[in-house]
């Protein structure tokens, strides 16, 4: 699929350049560590809510999330939406305010430092730092890969150049202005993502004659010999192997839960609450944040199946079969067919915007953790040197995942695919539950992070394909079990 070098390409180029230019906005306040990493604690509710949304939704939300129901039945869209709504409501109502109060009271400046404070343990802090630096670097590899593959395919450019197009604006933005610039560019990119989602929804729904008409059409069609009615049954359409084993519902629930609920414990989201202007910003953001995420989820996550009505009559069986294996190009293909030039460029800049907005804040999270919880724990540094180091490591952490994204190795691809859910499994106990549960202990927290990390990666590599249960589910259950049991046992001992 190639987009002609035209107005569309110019629009996408403007979007990426604006991201870098926004870096200048935060330049003035990026001269102290708190200024650089936490925008001088100046983020109001709109910046905070948009930035968290744009960080959470990478290109995968637009391409994978949008196209998924081309393969899966509509249940995937319904439950992906449901878990996202539940996740964002829990994040803003249960986690945000409590976290902000803790952070303000203790004066901590990173998630590992919060863990060290909660459990009075330097070891727990160091393990949390190791998990964040390692797993977020791996997670970024998947973000770079997703964005890079899409860019290179759409514009027929070299994959390496596509990776640089993603890396350079994000890097310039955060080196110049840190969190302030990242948040402002995320506001801009987040608005763009919502506009793109609304336009995509409108064009596809208009083409199929509205929701009810579109759904009714599935009783009259078949896709590669599979009856269209299976897209309306929860145990119906899905990946071929899952259909043969009768495991489509389990696969849908485990994957959608893993993606949707991860936001309640991801350090690259939680760290942004540290940068809130005051508690009023949190309470106002509590209303805005869930609406933004829910709106995007409702607009995007169920569109894939309707693309059968848009695309299939123009495609051969071979092409449909390819899209039924990898649905990432379903939405871009449908947009190319339905949307006029210019608006098409605006919509197709959404996955690029989504990648960049995720990359900026995640690099800052890794850098912050490395400086605050590894370097500053061992060496005493002057403020000016801390800023210099932070900017140097922002460059290093921009290029490390980009370099790994160049390696075509099945094991590496498996590990990076597992990283996102594994981060959630590692921190949901020690951070999200630990904020409320006073009997939690350092042994529980350490055990939970170690068990979560090992289970998440190993299950994905060895057991995901045979069981069709996403690694996040067993990793979360085992990590939480370890957290609770070890805390109860060691709490009694301590008493």
């Amino acid at each position: 699929m190639v987009v002609s070098i035209s107005l569309d390409v110019i629009i996408i180029a403007i979007v990426t350049m604006l991201t870098a230019i926004v870096g200048l906005v935060g330049y003035r306040i990026s001269r102290t560590f708190v200024g650089y990493m936490f925008a001088n604690k100046s983020l109001g509710p709109w910046l905070l809510a948009f930035s968290i949304m744009a960080t959470y939704f990478s290109a995968a939300s637009f391409l994978g999330g949008g196209g998924a129901t081309y393969i899966y039945n509509l249940g995937f869209g319904a439950w992906l939406t449901a878990w996202h709504v539940i996740g964002v409501v829990v994040l803003w109502i249960v986690v945000a305010d409590k976290l902000y109060r803790y952070v303000s009271k203790a004066g901590v400046l990173s998630i590992p430092e919060l863990i060290g404070y909660l459990y009075r343990s330097t070891l727990a802090r160091l393990i949390a730092a190791t998990v964040i630096v390692a797993l977020f670097n791996l997670y970024l590899v998947s973000v770079y890969r997703g964005g890079g593959i899409v860019l290179s395919t759409m514009f027929e450019i070299d994959y390496k150049i596509a990776l640089l197009i993603l890396t350079l604006p994000a890097m310039v933005c955060i080196i110049l202005g840190g969190m302030k610039s990242a948040a402002i560019s995320n506001l801009f990119l987040g608005v763009l993502m919502l506009i793109a989602a609304a336009l995509t929804f409108t064009y596809i729904m208009t083409y199929v004659g509205g929701l009810i008409n579109g759904l009714s059409s599935f009783s009259q069609i078949s896709v590669l010999g599979i009856s269209g009615t299976l897209w309306l049954r929860f145990d119906g359409a899905g990946p071929r192997l899952a259909m043969e084993k009768g495991l489509v519902p389990i696969l849908i629930m485990s994957v959608t839960f893993s993606i949707g609920m991860a936001q309640t414990a991801l350090p690259n989201l939680l760290i942004q609450f540290y940068a809130a202007k005051n508690s009023k910003a949190i309470s106002r953001g509590r209303l805005i944040g869930p609406i933004l995420v829910s709106l995007y989820a409702f607009l995007m996550f169920s569109l894939g199946m309707f693309c059968h009505l848009v695309l299939d009559k123009n495609l051969g069986d071979q092409q449909i079969a390819e899209l039924m294996k990898n649905s990432d190009f379903v939405i871009p293909k449908a947009i190319s067919l339905l949307v006029p030039i210019g608006i098409r460029g605006l919509i197709l800049s959404a996955p690029v915007a989504a990648s960049i907005s995720t990359i900026t804040v995640t690099i800052l999270t890794i850098t912050n953790t490395f400086i605050r919880d590894v370097i500053q724990v061992t060496i005493s540094l002057k403020e000016v040197n801390v800023i210099r180091l932070a900017k140097i490591f922002s460059i290093i952490f921009s290029f490390t995942p980009m370099t790994i994204a160049l390696i075509e190795d099945k094991l590496i691809i498996d590990v990076v695919s597992a990283a996102f859910g594994t981060i959630f499994a590692c921190f949901v106990g020690p951070v999200t539950i630990g904020l409320y549960w006073r009997k939690a202990t350092k042994e529980g927290a350490i055990g939970s992070m170690v068990v979560g990390a090992l289970t998440g990666i190993l299950w994905y590599i060895y057991l995901y394909r045979s069981t069709m249960i996403h690694s996040t589910i067993p990793a979360t259950l085992l990590a939480l079990g370890t957290f609770i049991i070890l805390s109860i046992l060691t709490n009694r001992k301590n008493v």
Binding site: T81, V85, I93
Partner: protein, 33 residues
């Protein structure tokens, strides 16, 4: 056209949770929490 109840449940649950979340946020905001 017959859509599986488990699919409808996903969308209905989304709406209910979102409305509860919004209502709770407004309530807390008015109380000044």
């Amino acid at each position: 056209m017959e859509v599986d109840p488990l699919i409808i449940l996903g969308y209905v649950l989304s709406f209910i949770v979102l409305i509860i979340g919004i209502a709770y946020s407004i309530y807390k905001d008015r109380r000044g929490d």
